[in-house]
Symmetry: C2
Subunit: 149 residues, 2 copies
């Protein structure tokens, strides 16, 4: 965790956000990345998403079962989702979401809004009814060899 926190501070000083994360198995660090949202003009380039992407490239798999992630900060909902989709085995974090919010990072608000009904969010969500809405899933269901997610 001290290497992760060191990279997070270095990131803050060099154009990234003040966040970093590592994917680890036992004593081995597979990947170590920092937030690069502004560097890459990519709002999804949080430390956890970056390090998951990197580890998946290195290991040539989307399944990180058996690997653990160390993050300088409690993952936001986007990174929380990425951790689940990557099937990581455990998450260690240092600062929490309230400490991130105190520094101006809105994780706490997003955690709040995710539980609101569609029409009560600050970004309105609206379901569009369409006769074709299930066609992608029906197409998928008919495949013989489905990829696992």
């Amino acid at each position: 965790m001290s290497q992760v926190l060191e990279l997070a501070a270095l990131s803050a000083r060099s154009g990234g956000g003040p966040f970093a994360a590592a994917i680890v198995k036992g004593d081995e660090i597979i990947a170590l990345e920092h937030n690069s949202v502004h560097i890459d003009t990519d709002p999804s380039a949080h430390a956890e998403v970056n390090v998951i992407r990197k580890a998946c490239q290195i290991l040539n798999t989307i399944d990180l079962s058996g690997y653990e992630i160390y993050s300088s900060c409690e993952p936001c909902p986007m990174c929380f989702g990425a951790v689940y989709w990557a099937h990581l085995s455990r998450v260690y974090y240092a600062a929490n979401r309230q400490e991130a919010a105190a520094c101006g990072f809105d994780d706490e608000q997003i955690y709040h809004e995710i539980n609101l009904p569609d029409n009560q969010r600050s970004i309105l969500f609206q379901r569009v009814d369409s006769d074709e809405k299930l066609i992608p899933f029906k197409t998928w269901d008919m495949l013989e060899n489905k990829n696992q997610y």
Copy 2:
């Protein structure tokens, strides 16, 4: 939305997941992408994340205020977070999370687990106490010209 659903079905038939999304302003489609998790070996490569990344590259900004997203399916928590970080103005979706779950995509479970305490999740979260945990944020706070997120 019909273009989005058409691409989602095409994606299912060609190695992607059965999902697609578009970023739109008025009548103009800025970007249209599909799920490419297996194609790119990247568990974060959902349609919404892909199309947000693409639109940000095209528009050279991380702030998509004033733009709307059309998704073939209700965004999962990862994509929900990406929508908020990109500051999109509105979200339209066709299928919902229950319909995704019925097709084997665990969005519904992740929505459930995000509200559980750290130690009751299927992926355990654990806070690591460290004297250095706030150093990245303090480093950030001292910057004169902070990037906005």
